[in-house]
Symmetry: C3
């Protein structure tokens, strides 16, 4: 059976079955990254272009390695060195790249909706690697995958997402993903960083992390972008840490087997203390590890690969 979508733009549009089929396929790729020879020839002779209009190490490297492990040819283009500086439109840049006979485009852009726009303009599959404050679907898929691996199930779990919900594409994609797979999501942060009316997409809201923590099976800590400070979203890093930083004291109220996630990069001592980030409940490096398998699965499925059936496990 094939995956029916031709692009991966966000989790908002995906059904529970579609998300689960990606996760199941990812499961079969985890093993490949543990082999001595981490390479399968399923995308041999196919070309993937990674077009990044925002700087990124981890996501770009993760995609590049996933592509190489599938034996694809890969070219990465950073916007700062691209024709964007010459005033070319986004569509022209992408149409030109597509005209070179590429098989898939991975795109990150600061504008929400840019990958959707390109998916309409191009014939080849488009993968959203992060668009503005909108979605970051492969991040959410790897978070779902990690949670399922570590907890065993997602149905009925209680997930807390803590921090700057307002500007976070990671939060948005995870809300769609976790709720669709049957988890309950609570978002928690200072009122200025919670979008008004967010309850309408099926989450509950709390402004008190201490109250939320004891109820959680999964605690997802978001990165605080310190540049928000100057935009008056919160008074100081110290005050933010005091109320929303995840530390030993707050964690003392948590369930024993809660898992702690963070999309990285970490601001150690701001939104999370080192002892929690490196502690026994942290699955932060597992997220990175499973990210590769999830991206391999997405690339493979969009290139026409077969879905792994749940039975084959």
């Amino acid at each position: 059976m094939k995956f029916e979508r031709s692009d991966l733009l966000g989790l908002e549009d995906l059904t529970r079955e579609e998300i689960e089929s990606i996760l199941t396929t990812a499961g079969s790729f985890v093993e490949i990254s543990e082999r001595p020879i981490k390479k399968v020839p399923v995308m041999r002779g196919l070309t993937v272009v990674n077009l990044f209009f925002e700087p990124s190490t981890r996501t770009r490297t993760s995609f590049e390695l996933a592509e190489k492990r599938l034996s694809a040819d890969t070219v990465s283009i950073a916007a700062s060195t691209s024709s964007a500086v010459k005033g070319e439109t986004l569509k022209d840049t992408a149409k030109n790249i597509e005209a070179m006979g590429i098989d898939m485009l991975v795109v990150r852009h600061s504008a929400s909706g840019a990958p959707h726009f390109l998916a309409k303009a191009l014939d080849c599959p488009v993968i959203n690697a992060g668009d503005g404050a909108h979605e970051h679907p492969t991040q959410a898929l790897l978070d779902l995958f990690t949670a399922r691996q570590k907890v065993g199930r997602l149905d009925g779990l209680r997930v807390g997402i803590v921090g700057d919900i307002l500007h976070s594409r990671v939060a948005r994609s995870n809300i769609w993903g976790f709720t669709r797979l049957g988890a309950k999501v609570v978002v928690c942060g200072p009122p200025t960083l919670i979008p008004p009316g967010i309850e309408s997409i099926g989450v509950t809201v709390s402004y008190d992390l201490n109250e939320v923590i004891p109820t959680l099976d999964i605690l997802m800590v978001l990165r605080i972008q310190t540049e928000r400070l100057t935009q008056c979203f919160f008074p100081s890093l110290r005050e933010y840490s005091e109320f929303f930083g995840v530390d030993r004291k707050k964690m003392s109220r948590a369930k024993k087997d809660v898992i702690v996630m963070h999309p990285g990069p970490l601001n150690r001592g701001v939104e999370i203390t080192p002892e929690i980030a490196d502690g026994p409940n942290s699955v932060i490096l597992d997220q990175v590890k499973y990210g590769l398998a999830v991206r391999m699965a997405v690339l493979y499925l969009l290139s026409g690969g077969e879905l792994t059936s749940e039975d084959s496990h």
Copy 2:
């Protein structure tokens, strides 16, 4: 039969037969980029370095993909991150790269003649990917190839090149290429952007696009580099567009089957309107597509590959 040249520096020096043999060989590479597995092993184990002293997305990406489809190993070096910033001479940079045992160097440089200088200094083949306002031979070859594919022949065609002829290596290489293959070239633009005496290389000059358009089989629109504006080459973008921008009104006087080319990136609304750039006469994306086949042919021939004979088609 082998290609006799050891470098591709410009079209000025090539004979009609040499240009035609590259185009014929490119024809056999078009098909490879349409296969499901776009890869042939003809350059396996060979190393190509792309050394770009000017920023470039499309040309660099096109070369990288061409090299990968020929199974070469490829490394791209951008000048901004290179030893150039440490004051090393161009020759030392190139000699050092060559000493690493590379098989071919693709170079772009802002100085006219830089690739010729390197071709003399190095033993390995050198491909000019654009040198100052001098030549951009692979661009002209792909323009010739596209024109031949679309029109069926070049002999006797009338080609108009419109815009900033003075600063354009694309114009220069195309003038050599089209005239050598038997086409008639007219260059058209404001007097400040036409090099005085250019008639001596076999073109005619016009300052009136409306007069030229009806006579053309091929209309090649050059990019206006808006930074020229501050250097007083023309009074304003609006005035430039009024007289030399290719739009529906001017195109209404053109032959029905004229083809419209542009080397990209487009300044939509300046030198060309979107309806013409995206219209039925435009072959702009074909140029990009065929560019890959042409670059594969050049790389292949300079690495010692066999010429495709005209008969085999």
Copy 3:
């Protein structure tokens, strides 16, 4: 037999036997770079990440090509585009990269000791590609290899290292390497650029190049970083060249078969004149050529490859 070390951090810690075993293995890789197909499958399916926190063309390109010739998958990350700009710690950056299932990390960093710190933090092998003013072990290994190839032996040779010893990781690694292999090292430069007490690591010091030159079998000229000028380490480039620049006049006093080395990039006319850099005694391009073989050997050995035994030569 296998190489016993899991990282290559510096030459200070290596025994004579270990250094010799790397050089001997490098010897067997020289031939591969001279083949028409410069590729061996010994690292197929393994992933090497080159993480460069300082700009570099030659070292990064040399490592990339070495990795590709061993058939490894390779990703290079430049610090300027990395998460470092987002305030992530070095350790977190590296742990994240490792979590992607990589097999080896090559790192350059402006801080002395950074690779050692990472070697402790990571499970995968770490190769130091230059750390601050501390060590640059692959540069010294290629210098040793070149010297041995050109002179035939190292034992008892007299090596002069000339220039800015104080800030040079190349000097430091070469001092450890040459002395361990039985050569005598003299360092020579202006007093402000010689670290006080350097005699304690087994070298002699001279402030007079004219006096030193006649005694040398190997003359290693270091690059003068012109930015030191503003820090008052020496009065002017002209005065530096007068006393420590290697030119025909000073070389007239040298042994006939002295070899002249330079790690590059060259400041022609400052620390060395063109006629010496390009003259018959110069082995500067051989250093670059052998650098590839040496890096292939290091990558191969740290990935678990077999040592080449001396007998097999």
